[in-house]
Each structure stands twice: as C-alpha cells, then as structure tokens.
C-alpha cells in the first residue's frame, strides 16, 4: 500500500467516519467473555494447538492464547474459536 493511498484512506476513515475493518481489511474481533472469539477478516491458520492459535492477517499475526482451544467453525474469512482464552496478541503490525 503506497503512502499516498494510505493517507487518503486514513483521511476517509476520519472524515467520513467509516469503520476501519472495511477500509483497511483489519480484523474484527468479537469476544464473548473468555469463552468464545469470532475473528473476521483473517487470512488463514498458521498454527493450531490446544494452547495457542495463530491466525494470519493482512498485516502480521494474531496470536490467541489459552487452554483447550478448539475451532468451532472455520470459513474462508471467519473463524470461531472456543476454549478458555487468556490472551490475544498482535505481532508484526505496523504503526
């Protein structure tokens, strides 16, 4: 993404009050307590174990930590994770 286009987008988000997930392809996370997590706009699973799940994003990686993690459903851009979630971390995200 060129600098200019990002600037324009940034301006659009602020001036037109658009949601960032639509404009920047950012992930949208919906979390219900520490039991269920819905991630939209992911790019695929990188690693999956009962303790850690790594999701690829457009930019960087989303790490979900916890115990007894399981994928409830997975669709091309959506994933529902269940289990006891203890943390969510972003890695390699600009800015």
């Amino acid at each position: 993404m060129s600098r200019l286009s990002r600037k324009i987008r940034n301006w659009a988000v602020e001036a037109l009050d658009l949601p960032g997930d639509l404009v920047f392809d950012l992930p949208r996370l919906t979390m219900i307590g520490n039991k269920q997590l819905l991630v939209e706009n992911h790019q695929g699973v990188l690693h999956f174990s009962p303790e850690e799940l790594q999701l690829e994003l457009k930019q960087g990686i989303l790490k979900v930590e916890g115990t007894e993690l399981a994928i409830r459903t997975i669709m091309p851009e959506e994933v529902i994770i269940e289990g006891r979630i203890s943390g969510i971390k972003y890695e390699g995200v600009e800015e």
Partner: protein, 393 residues
C-alpha cells in the same frame, strides 16, 4: 455449524487427521468452502474435526495435496442409522408387519350391538344388517356411510320408525326405534249382544247395532239386547248394557277358625354357599319346633352389579303354632257377606255395583252359621252371540 437437526439428517463424520501440514489443510478446507466444525488439536500432530457426509469424499484430494492422512472416528446421523437398519431387514419387515397387522385388525368390525329392539328379534336386525354389509370381520372402509346404512336399514326392517347406525372404534351399535302400531283388530263375524242373566235393564247404549230393549225392561237370559242387524246389513253389535241381577248365596260359616301364627321363637342357621352347594356354619343342634316355617335369605358377594355365586345364606326357622279363633255369629255373618261381595266383584267385574243385600235365611247349628243372602247387583249383562246364517229350507 449448522442447525443440529439438519446436520443429523444429512449425516456427519468425526475424522482424525494426521500429518505435518495440518494448518494448511484447515486453510484449504476453508477456502474450498468445505464446512468443518469442532476442530480440536490432539497431541502428536493430530487433529479431530467434524465434516458433513456430503463433503467427505471431496476431502481426499486436499489430504493428498497437504500430505495428511485421515481415519474415521465416529459416524453420526440418519444415513448411518438407516444403513445399519438395512442390514437388519427381517427386523424391519417384522416391525412393518406388526404395524400393518395392528392397522388391519383395527379396521375390522369386531362387534355388533343391537339396542332398543323389543318386538323385532335381534337376529332379524343382524340379518338385515348383514345384507347391508355390516357383519363381524367386515372392513370398516368397505361399509357405506352411517347415514346411508341407517336409511337402508330403516327401509329394510318393517316395524321400525328409525334405525341408527353408529361406529365407535371397531364396534357398531345399531339403535332401533320400534314403531308403535295401532292395535290390530281381529275380524269378527257379525254378532248380537244378548243378555247373560235374567235382569232389569238400567242402562243401554248401542254403539253399533239395533237396540231391542229399553231401560227398565225385564229381560231373560239369552234375550237379544242389541241386534247385529242394521237394516239389511249384518254388523258386529257393540254397546254397553247394564242391568240389575239377583244373586243368591248360600253360606256355611264355621264359628271356630284355625289360623297359623308365629310364636316368636326362631332359630337362625348360617350357611356359606358356592353355586348350588351350601355348607352350614352356624346354628347346629336339634330344633325343638313342632311346626315351623323356613325363610331363607341369600346374600351373595357382589362386584358392581354382578352377583357372584359365592356368599352367605341365612336360614331362619320360625316356629308356628295353630290357634283357634272363636267368632261370634255376628262376626261370622259380616265375614260371610264380605266374602260374597268379593266373589261378586271377581265374577262380574269391578264396575259392578251392589245395590242391596237381603238375608233371607239364617240358622246357627253345630258350631256353624247357615245363611242365605240375596244380592241385588247392577252389572254388565251383555254377551256376544254370533249370528248364524239362516239356512234356507
């Protein structure tokens, strides 16, 4: 995850996948649009997941591409259940036959009940019903509609004003309402009404026929009162004729009357009975009564309105004795006249009227009263006499 009912109907499998590039497989699956759910990571690079049965066979190329191996752990849903059932064909057949048998047996007529018939025999009703297609072991669906059957039966059974047919379950109830018919008159040959005694006519009313006598007329026994000939026509004479008739009663009345009475002494015997056999339980011992009267009371065990042939029977032995009642001649006379009056009413009908009585003769002798009484009674004196054809000479 889809609605569990639909997913159960379509069937799903739990598979365990083994391999190095499991994440890649999941991504591929998601990209291909193959729905997976309940993905669980197991130790030793294994993963458990659920797949729709319809998607199961499209897994193979993806597994090959990602170098994974798969084994089926559990089969869930209707298709597997049906497959298992199919292997037990005889069982299914038996079950189907059972259902069919229940259905068939419950669509048969088992019982026909006829109600409300008094004069028409039940057999006749059943016969008519049979001709209309109502008989035991008939298919219910082969019978006509109840209203049609009802109309047909009413037409078929003479002497009914309505026949109702109702079905409840496997039982047919035929309700018969019998027509009340006017009394049938027996045909009678022309007749006269003649007097049955020597009498004086007090009342005559001819409904049919020619009156031959008038009120206050003296008639002899056998005299025609109302003739059965009206003009040239012969009819059955009908009417009402009353007359005064004298009856003479000769009576012998004993002055001592014997009568059986209870002394008040009694003995009770208790029996247990089964059918016609009774076993005495209480009241053993000799009875000292010279004369007695036995009264038995049955008290069977009952269940609802049903009497069982088992129960208790009480037998009472009531001592009787003969007492002699002495009557005064006056009492004997009154008794005798009363008895005579009762005799008159019994012989000549309750509508007879005793007008007067006269004691003609009275004598007391040998402990008896001899009496002759004359009663004057107004009674019906008509009697039918058929008209005999006059035979030409």
């Amino acid at each position: 995850m889809k609605s569990s009912v639909i997913s159960r109907l379509r069937g799903s499998v739990t598979i365990v996948v083994r391999g190095e590039r499991l994440e890649e497989l999941i991504n591929e699956l998601a990209k291909e649009g193959i729905e997976i759910w309940n993905v669980r990571s197991l130790p030793e690079r294994k993963m458990e997941m659920n797949v729709q049965l319809g998607d199961f066979f499209s897994l193979r190329p993806l597994l090959k591409r990602t170098g994974c191996r798969m084994s089926v752990k559990r089969r869930i849903g209707a298709p597997f259940f049906l497959a298992r059932l199919w292997r037990r064909k005889i069982f299914i057949l038996g079950f189907a036959m059972f259902i069919a048998a229940i259905f068939a047996l419950s669509s048969l007529v088992w019982d026909i009940e006829v109600q409300g018939n008094d004069k028409i025999p039940t057999e006749d009703v059943l016969l008519a019903a049979r001709e209309e297609g109502i008989y035991p072991f008939q298919w219910i669906f082969r019978m006509q509609k109840p209203d049609k059957l009802s109309a047909e039966l009413t037409r078929r059974l003479t002497g009914t004003s309505w026949v109702g047919v109702t079905r409840s379950g496997t039982r047919i109830t035929i309700q018969v309402v019998e027509a009340t018919r006017p009394k049938e008159h027996t045909l009678r040959s022309p007749s006269h009404l003649v007097s049955n005694a020597d009498a004086i006519v007090t009342y005559i009313y001819a409904e049919r026929g020619q009156p031959e006598v008038k009120k206050h007329a003296r008639v002899k026994k056998g005299q025609v009162l109302i003739a059965g000939i009206q003009g040239n026509e012969r009819v059955v004479a009908k009417g009402e004729i009353r007359g005064i008739v004298w009856h003479e009663y000769k009576m012998e009345l004993p002055l001592v009357r014997k009568q059986n009475v209870y002394t008040g002494e009694k003995k009770v015997k208790g029996y247990l009975f089964f059918g016609n056999t009774a076993i005495q339980i209480t009241g053993y011992g000799p009875t000292s009564f010279a004369q007695f009267h036995t009264v038995s009371e049955l008290d069977p065990l009952t269940w609802r309105s049903l009497k069982l042939p088992i129960g208790w029977m009480n037998e009472k032995l009531l001592e009787t004795t003969v007492i002699q009642l002495k009557l005064s001649p006056e009492q004997a006379k009154v008794d005798g006249i009363e008895r005579a009056e009762r005799d008159i009413y019994a012989k000549y009908g309750m509508e007879s009227k005793i007008i007067s009585q006269k004691i003609l003769h009275e004598k007391s002798d040998n402990g008896k009263v001899y009496m002759k009484v004359l009663f004057e009674v107004e009674q019906n004196i008509a009697e039918e006499l058929p008209i005999v054809h006059e035979q030409g000479e």
